[in-house]
């Protein structure tokens, strides 16, 4: 469990995690030809909101996430987090990648302590120990990533991203490489952790269930070029138990979103087939 002291520290910080994306386009140049990855995106995300970016593969959702995190430059437009324009990756955005992003030469503890150490925290190891405990891996503090299962590695990845108390947490299909059982347990765990941290989350996925179960809002993306097709509010209440997936409301949302995704996938599928 996290101590009260740390929680109040994060509240005291002026940063809130409001994201404002204005008129954003990203183009890639290959052999002189420009391919538009995402075009004219406008999104506003409130502090503490859990957003799912949902779309078929190749729709630019990871591109958009990378721009929010400063890992990729926009061709036009800009991303502002709490008013400041994002220019490069920084500790404002914690990032959880799909897989293999832990530093293999560091133990689980050192991986999680890395951020606090970089930011000059007085006792990085004790912060790391608390976060490892939060994801249930305190016993694996001295294990190297290669000695952990895929699910455990992602839990360490989440702990590492949260250790710097970032106002924004970006997650790029973090459970995409896990088996179905592990994945659903990880989703529950993530909701619990998020409920405690109240950080803004942008979660990229192509799994409709995952998007609806986790988020406050699902942004369905359209294909080539990527844009926001629909903005769907998920009013399933909080805190959310896995049982919500059994209700009528959930089924309705799921059906509607699945239909949208299917349209987009077909567009690409037929485009390639013709």
């Amino acid at each position: 469990m996290l101590s009260q002291r740390h929680m109040s520290n994060s509240v005291a910080a002026a940063r809130q995690g409001a994201i404002r994306i204005e008129n954003l386009s990203v183009e890639f140049r290959r052999n002189g030809n420009a391919t538009v990855a995402v075009r004219d995106i406008d999104i506003e995300i409130a502090p503490g909101e859990f957003i799912a970016l949902l779309g078929p593969s190749g729709c630019g959702k990871s591109t958009l996430l990378n721009v929010i995190g400063g890992m990729l430059r926009a061709t036009r437009g800009e991303v502002r987090i709490d008013g400041g324009v994002v220019k490069e990756p920084s500790a404002i955005c914690g990032v959880v990648f799909q897989q293999h992003s832990l530093f293999p030469w560091m133990t689980a503890l050192d991986n999680v302590a890395f951020g606090p150490r970089m930011l000059g925290h007085a006792s990085p190891n004790s912060v790391a120990r608390e976060l490892l405990a939060l994801v249930g891996l305190e016993k694996f503090a001295s294990a190297y990533p290669a000695q952990l299962s895929g699910g455990m590695q992602q839990r360490v990845g989440i702990a590492r991203a949260l250790a710097t108390r970032p106002p924004v947490l970006l997650m790029d299909e973090p459970f995409g490489a896990l088996d179905a059982q592990t994945r659903s347990i990880m989703q529950e765990e993530l909701l619990k952790i998020w409920w405690e941290f109240k950080t803004t989350v942008v979660f990229v996925t192509h799994d409709v269930d995952e998007a609806v179960y986790l988020s406050d809002r699902v942004l369905v993306m359209s294909n080539s070029p990527g844009g926001i097709k629909e903005n769907i509010r998920v009013d399933l209440g909080r805190p959310r138990a896995p049982d919500v997936t059994l209700g009528e409301e959930y089924a309705g949302l799921h059906r509607r979103i699945r239909r949208l995704i299917r349209q987009e996938s077909l567009k690409v599928f037929n485009g390639i087939a013709s």
């Binding site: 400063g70 500790a91 992003s101 290669a146």
Partner: protein, 271 residues
């Protein structure tokens, strides 16, 4: 940790792994048999030749070994050579590894320096000896220079490729955790290159050891290379062979020494 997953690392067959790993008793027997066979063939050829100046028998060489050991000359020469190897190796590592990290990180610097390295690399250490003598005279200094040159290229090049193959995702993850330039080089690029750096150091030490003998043949008045050269001039072939065998044994011991500390240098690479 009953949940720990063991990952399979393909076994590398080295002398070290044969003598340390499972079944080592068996392997030691095979090694002894192989060396025994070699000594036997050597003896047979030497006896058939019947000319100790061309090829003395292993027994005569062993006798020479005892005499040189008793005189203290052998120890002196070994220490002189070892000193030259380690000093040169150290110079090469201290320059090679940081330079490689800098060039791997800063692309403009790389464009400037890499062509120079590419041009200098094909020049063998032995070709540097005349210059080394002109610059440093005879003795330790030219040998330091030659052993450093020999060790530098494998160390630098392996480190450089290790540095440039750092994963973009690791750099991005580190930036998102607040790491700045220096931390990226020291805490991300360096450790992720360390397996390659280690390979470079192993090769570099071997090259350096080979080069010291070459250097001493010409540019020194002590050391195993000098001892071989003087013994040849005196037609003391058994001493030449003592020198050669000593070089072989010490080189193998150095390689084994490095292999045995690998698990402390690269703990995350261990099973």
């Amino acid at each position: 940790m009953q949940h720990t997953i063991r990952i399979a690392i393909p076994p590398r067959i080295t002398l070290h792994s044969l003598l340390i790993g499972p079944g080592w008793r068996f392997n030691v027997l095979w090694a002894a048999a192989g060396i025994g066979l070699f000594v036997l063939i050597w003896t047979a050829i030497a006896l058939r030749l019947g000319n100790p100046v061309l090829l003395p028998t292993p027994a005569v060489v062993l006798d020479g070994f005892h005499r040189l050991l008793a005189d203290g000359y052998l120890i002196e020469d070994v220490l002189a050579s070892l000193k030259r190897v380690f000093v040169g190796f150290l110079i090469a590592s201290v320059i090679g590894v940081p330079l490689a990290m800098l060039l791997a990180y800063f692309a403009p610097l790389r464009r400037l320096v890499l062509p120079i390295v590419t041009l200098l690399r094909p020049i063998p250490p032995i070709a540097w000896i005349p210059i080394a003598i002109l610059w440093f005279g005879i003795g330790d200094k030219p040998s330091f220079f030659i052993t450093a040159i020999a060790a530098f290229f494998p160390i630098f090049l392996n480190s450089f490729f290790g540095g440039t193959s750092v994963e973009e995702q690791h750099l991005n993850a580190a930036r998102c955790l607040g790491a700045k330039k220096t931390a990226l080089v020291v805490r991300i690029m360096f450790p992720s290159a360390l397996p390659m750096i280690w390979t470079g150091l192993k090769i570099g030490l071997g090259q350096s050891w080979m080069a010291v003998v070459t250097a001493e043949l010409i540019a020194a008045q002590s050391g195993l290379g000098y001892m071989i050269q003087v013994s040849r001039l005196n037609l003391e072939t058994s001493y030449v062979l003592v020198g050669m065998v000593t070089i072989g044994v010490l080189g193998s011991l150095m390689a084994a020494g490095l292999a045995s500390i690998e698990r402390y240098v690269l703990p995350w690479k261990q099973k």
